[in-house]
C-alpha cells in the first residue's frame, strides 16, 4: 500500500512538474492561440489609393475625411512655346481658388472660382464603393457631380433676343473607378458626361462623352509620378484630348502637385471638353496645385487625446 501511495505521489508530482514545464514552453504560444482564436475578422479598406482628392487636372476617387477642410490653389501658366518673350508662359496664369470640405467620410463638397471665363463652380463627390484589402471588393468607385456658372460679359445680341442665365451653366458627371494594385501603383478610369446648355456651333453636341485614364507611381514615401489622359468621343469643334503628366510632393499638411499639360484650364468642363492645345504643337503648360488641409471637426474616437486639433 505504501509503495502504491509512493508511486502515485511520485506520478502526481512528476505530472505536475511536467505540466508546468509544458506550460512554460508553450505558454506564450498558447496565449497567441488564445488571441488567434475567434479573432474578429474585420473588413479592412484599402487606404491612400491616391495622395490627394485631385490627380492632376481632374479629381480622384479619394475624398476628404469627415470634418476636414482643404484649401486649394491651382495655377496653369501660358504656353511654354512662348519662349523668353512670355518667360515660357509664366507671364500669364489661369488660377482657381477653392475650398473643399468633407461632410462625412463618404460625402465631400467643394466650391471654387477660376479666372478663365470668370467661372464659379461647385461639386459634390460621393464614395460609392471602397476597395478592400482581401479583394472581395477589387475597386473603389466614386461619383462626382459638378456645376459651374460663367460670369463672363453677355455677348451683344440682336434686339428682341435675350441672353439667358442658363447659357452660362455647365454640368459635369463623372464616375471614378480606381484600384490600388500595390504600394506604388494605382490606376483609375473616369467615364465622363459634360452637358453644355449653349455651344458655339450648330454642329457641336450639347452632351460630350469622354473617358479618362490616369494613375500614379510612387517613387518614395513622399513623391509620386502621376499621369492623366482624357479621350473625348464627340469633341466640340477645335478641341483636343488633354494629356497631363505630373509629380506629387508631400510635406506634412501640404501636397504640391506640379504638372505639364496641354490644357490651360482647370474646371472639368473646360479641360476635358475645351482643351485647344496639343503636345505635338508645343502647347505645353506648366502648372501646379497646392493643397493645405485643416481639421475643423475632430474625428470620432479621439476625444480623449490631450491636444486640440487647432
Amino acid at each position: 500500500m505504501k509503495l502504491i501511495f509512493k508511486m502515485v505521489l511520485a506520478a502526481a508530482i512528476s505530472s505536475l512538474a511536467f505540466r508546468s514545464q509544458a506550460q512554460n514552453d508553450t505558454s506564450s504560444n498558447s496565449l497567441d492561440n488564445l488571441l488567434q482564436k475567434d479573432a474578429p475578422n474585420k473588413k479592412e479598406y484599402t487606404t491612400a489609393t491616391f495622395k490627394s482628392t485631385h490627380l492632376i487636372n481632374g479629381q480622384t476617387v479619394e475624398s476628404l475625411g469627415a470634418g476636414v477642410l482643404d484649401f486649394r490653389i491651382s495655377h496653369r501658366f501660358g504656353d511654354v512655346s512662348g519662349g523668353f518673350h512670355t518667360f515660357f508662359g509664366l507671364d500669364d496664369a489661369n488660377t482657381r481658388i477653392g475650398f473643399d470640405y468633407g461632410i462625412t467620410d463618404w460625402l465631400m463638397v467643394g466650391v471654387g472660382r477660376t479666372t478663365y471665363d470668370k467661372e464659379y463652380d461647385g461639386f459634390i463627390k460621393v464614395k460609392l464603393l471602397r476597395q478592400t484589402t482581401d479583394n472581395r471588393m477589387p475597386v473603389s468607385v466614386s461619383y462626382l457631380g459638378s456645376m459651374s456658372i460663367s460670369d463672363r460679359d453677355a455677348p451683344v445680341l440682336d434686339s428682341g433676343q435675350t441672353y439667358y442665365f442658363s447659357n452660362r451653366c455647365y454640368y459635369t458627371n463623372q464616375i471614378f473607378i480606381a484600384r490600388k494594385f500595390n504600394r506604388w501603383l494605382s490606376l483609375q478610369l473616369m467615364p465622363t458626361l459634360i452637358h453644355y446648355n449653349l455651344v458655339q456651333y450648330n454642329s457641336d453636341p450639347n452632351d460630350v462623352f469622354a473617358c479618362g485614364i490616369g494613375g500614379r507611381v510612387k517613387v518614395s514615401n513622399r513623391i509620386a509620378f502621376t499621369g492623366e489622359y482624357y479621350y473625348v468621343a464627340n469633341p466640340l469643334a477645335g478641341s483636343n484630348n488633354a494629356l497631363s503628366l505630373g509629380v506629387d510632393i508631400e510635406t506634412g499638411g501640404h501636397v504640391f502637385q506640379l504638372m505639364f499639360t496641354n490644357s490651360r484650364y482647370i474646371t472639368e468642363r473646360t479641360f476635358i471638353g475645351q482643351t485647344q492645345g496639343t503636345w505635338g504643337d508645343g502647347n505645353i503648360h506648366f502648372g501646379f496645385n497646392i493643397s493645405r488641409v485643416f481639421t475643423v471637426v475632430k474625428p470620432k474616437g479621439t476625444e480623449e487625446l490631450r491636444s486640440k486639433a487647432w
Binding site: 502526481a12 474616437g301 480623449e304 490631450r306
Partner: protein, 181 residues
Amino acid sequence: MKKLLIAACMLVLTAPAFAQKYMTRTGKVSFYSHTPIENIEAVNNEVAAAVDSKTGDVVFQVPIKSFKFEKELMQEHFNENYMESDKFPKAEFKGKLADPGAVNFAKDGVYKTSVTGKLTMHGVTKDITVPGTVTVKGGTATIDAKFNVKPPDYGIKIPAVVASKIAAQIEVTINTILKPV
C-alpha cells in the same frame, strides 16, 4: 492513507485551475510626441492582449491601422510613410513579468512590476524592459505602463524637413483591462 491518496489525486487534477489566463481585444495603447512646434498623438482601442498569471507570460498585439489621430492626414502619413502598415500591419510585444509570483491575481491590489521581452514593430525586433503596474480588482487585471520608443531604433526614418515636428522619443502609454478567460 486513502484520504491522502485522494488528496494527491485532487492536487493533480485541480492544479490547472490556478493557471488562469486573462485577455482582451479592446485594450488601449496611445502615444504622444511632444515638440515645441507640434504635438502628435494617437489612440488605439483595438489592442489584443493576454497574460498568463501563472507563468507571467504577456502578449500584446497592436493593429497599426487602428491608431486614431485628430488629423486624418497625419493618420495617413503615419500608416503610409512611417509605419508602412500595409507591409507591417501589427506591432507585437512578447515578454514575461519580472516576478510572476509578486502579482497575486487572486487578491485585489496594485502590484508594481516590470516586464521584459521583445517588441516587434515595423519589422524590427528589440529587447525592452518596461516598468508598470498590474491592478487586480474584482477578478479583472488592469495593466498600466509608460515607456519611450525611438523611431530610428525600429528602422523608421524621419526626414530632415519634419524632424523638428516629431519627438526623438515617443511616449507610449498602455492602459488595458484584461478579463479572465
